[in-house]
């Protein structure tokens, strides 16, 4: 599904190297988690994959089902099936959440040569998906993320994911700012999208999220590289011992 090879990335405006050769391969239906200390490059990886400005790829590649992502515009990556659930979902005053969702879905369908969804069919789809995430009509009517609580914002991200049905989902610290109940709700939303074909990359600081969204593979990232890969137990190890031992091990 997603294959990253030797990815090197620096900041566009500064001589600061962030990713120093990331290798990662996620198969269809797999759930991978990336953990790592602050500043290790986890969020940068998610931004670079989704096409945010401000980064310069100096080497390496990232392909989605064989297609080179790094040559595509952000909207082309989305249409190709990539989705990033933001750590800090963006507020857009003046744009209604429904308008946003519908524009996004129909843009992607159009880009893929599919027919756009009618207003009626779209409404039905949103209502059904919103219900399971406990998103009420008011949240759908309000401008995108404006005045939403932290939990509401994250639920809104998962709603977008459920509606857009991407093949490859990246969750960037989706657990940050969530209380226990909200984390359960969001995790249930993610798990409902696990269908054996869709793949996930879950970026998190804490093992707790991985109790809800069970990963197949856990990677530890430090200083712009993946330094260790293992099974779910690796996350528990980090939770108990911190990163110090792992960092010492590789040095």
């Amino acid at each position: 599904m997603l294959e990253i090879n030797n990815l090197h990335v620096k900041l566009e405006d500064e001589d600061k190297v962030i990713l120093r050769g990331v290798d990662l391969k996620i198969g269809p239906g797999e759930v991978h988690a990336i953990m790592g200390p602050n500043g290790s490059g986890k969020s940068t990886l998610s931004y670079v994959l989704s096409g945010r400005d401000g980064y310069e790829v100096t080497d390496g590649s990232a392909t989605l089902e064989g297609e080179e992502l790094l040559d595509m515009e952000p909207e082309e990556r989305a249409a190709a099936g990539l989705f990033l659930a933001f750590q800090y979902p963006v507020e857009i005053p003046g744009v209604g959440n429904m308008t946003f969702l519908r524009t996004a879905l129909n843009s992607q369908r159009k880009a893929r040569g599919e027919e756009e969804l009618s207003a009626g069919d779209f409404l039905k789809l949103v209502r059904e998906k919103a219900k399971t995430l406990k998103i009420d009509a008011d949240m759908l009517k309000r401008p995108v993320n404006v005045g939403f609580s932290g939990g509401e914002k994250k639920r809104n991200e998962i709603l977008q994911m459920a509606i857009l049905e991407p093949r490859m989902c990246i969750l960037d610290e989706t657990d940050s700012g969530l209380d226990v109940d909200a984390m359960k709700l969001v995790s249930d939303g993610v798990n409902a999208l696990r269908d054996g074909k869709r793949s996930f990359l879950v970026i998190t600081h804490y093992q707790r999220l991985l109790d809800h969204i069970k990963p197949d593979v856990v990677h530890i990232m430090a200083a712009g590289r993946i330094i260790k890969t293992g099974g779910p137990d690796l996350a528990l190890e980090v939770e108990n011992n911190g990163y110090a031992d792992l960092l010492a091990e590789v040095q």
Partner: protein, 427 residues
């Protein structure tokens, strides 16, 4: 104080070819307006309220030619049920207009009604304009009152069942039109006035509105098409107790547009909202100059102006709120914002508050900014193509101004118009 000779000459040249009809109540009003104009002279670059907008093209003896926009987009408001009254190059065009019969609304042509000795419009024509000359002189409005070639006198005695829609066609490339309308809403009356069309190569317009106690006036206009046209418009309105005045202007295109709006809240608990959304490209120059006087208690005024500018377009906002002594519990709000789509465009804003009462709430804000890159990335990451994402954010930026339109069908019409314009720029 006599005007300097150069100013006298410039004025003489500007009005040389204009006709000053005599006789009737209107003849007297015109003569008084000419006296005001002669005392003021024409506006110049050094005048305080013309510092950001060069009035030369408006004060020149001849109007420069303006070619027609050849786009085939249907005119705005076409889908709205309305009484349509058409002016072609500044002259009322009866053949192109609807029958002006509308219950509770009397409509007369200025040229015909002006000859009488007594008329209801006597107390308003040039009168509200004259009141609006102080403290800021507005010579082009006085010129208009003196030399207007046509216009309508509209008296509203009830609640008009549908909008009165003034459509200004531009058919001669060198037309130089001067229109003057007077509207009087009697107690409890209500009217929606629509205006659209490029009007003329050069267009001077005055709209005087008396909103009596508890009356409601809604005004929505769309200034667009014929990019080379010039326009200087003035609204002078006086509001009675518990009355409502709402005016919204959409502007796209136009090398020079100056919209003056002078509002006087004279009755307690009146509300006046004036809003504008403008989109400009290249040598577009758009100036909103607003003066709101609070002269009664517990009145509310809102000014909401948004401009989207690119490729060197210029936007100007000069907005003032004057709260007179005794106008307690005034609630005045003013916001002017521009979205600059590139580094070449300019937005010049001069917000002013002058307050002589101690129990009031007044706020003003003015910002200029580029499109929000983070929001743009967020939209694109969800699959929305760049141009479409930009359009969405532009519409979002203008939303607060459009929200000032109460009638949903009309607001949708305006929104649709904006979307159409934006989509054309997307390709």
């Amino acid at each position: 104080m006599a005007l300097p000779q150069a100013k006298q000459d410039a004025l003489a040249a500007r009005i040389a070819g204009l006709d000053l009809p005599k006789g009737g109540w209107l003849g007297e009003a015109r003569a008084e307006a000419l006296a005001r104009l002669t005392a003021m002279g024409l506006p110049g670059k050094r005048d305080e309220y013309w510092r950001y907008t060069d009035p030369t093209a408006l004060t020149a003896p001849q109007a420069s030619a303006a070619v027609f926009d050849d786009s085939d987009e249907p005119p705005v408001f076409d889908a709205i049920d309305r009484v349509k009254l058409v002016f072609t190059d500044g002259i009322f065009d009866a053949a192109a207009s609807d029958d002006p019969a509308l219950a509770g609304v009397e409509i007369e042509r200025l040229a015909l009604a002006g000859a009488a000795n007594i008329h209801w419009a006597q107390g308003l024509y040039g009168v509200l304009e004259a009141r609006g000359q102080n403290p800021v002189p507005r010579p082009l409005a006085a010129l208009n009152s003196a030399f207007a070639t046509d216009g309508l006198l509209i008296r509203v005695t009830g609640r008009a069942a549908k909008p009165v829609s003034l459509v200004y066609q531009h058919k001669s490339e060198s037309s130089d039109a001067i229109l003057h309308h007077v509207i009087k809403l009697e107690v409890d009356a209500e009217l929606t006035l629509l205006e659209n069309g490029p009007a003329a190569a050069r267009f001077l317009k005055v709209l005087e509105v008396e909103v009596s106690d508890r009356a409601r006036f809604h005004h929505i206009r769309a200034q667009g098409r014929d990019h080379e046209r010039l326009a200087a418009t003035h609204i002078f309105a006086r509001l009675g107790t518990e009355s409502l005045f709402k005016s919204f202007t959409l502007t796209a295109n136009g090398r020079l547009t100056r919209n003056d709006c002078v509002l006087e809240l004279t009755g307690d608990d009146a509300k006046a909202h004036v809003a504008g959304a403008a989109m400009g490209d290249r040598d577009f120059h758009h100036d909103d100059t607003v003066f709101v006087t609070h002269a009664a208690e517990r009145c509310e005024s809102r000014q909401v102006f948004k401009k989207v500018l690119k490729n060197g377009a210029v936007g100007v906002f000069q907005g003032k709120i004057l709260v007179k002594p005794g106008a307690q519990k005034t609630d005045g709000y003013q916001i002017s914002q521009s979205l600059l789509l590139d580094d070449d465009s300019q937005f010049l804003a001069k917000p002013e508050l002058e307050i002589y009462a101690d129990d009031v709430k007044c706020s003003h804000g003015s910002t200029s900014g580029a499109i929000d890159e983070t929001a743009l990335y967020y939209l694109r990451s969800r699959g929305v193509p760049l141009k479409q994402a930009q359009s969405l954010l532009v519409l979002a930026f203008l939303a607060e101004a459009i929200a000032e339109i109460e009638d949903e069908a009309i607001a949708d019409d305006i929104r649709g118009r904006l979307e159409g314009w934006l989509h054309r720029h997307e390709s």
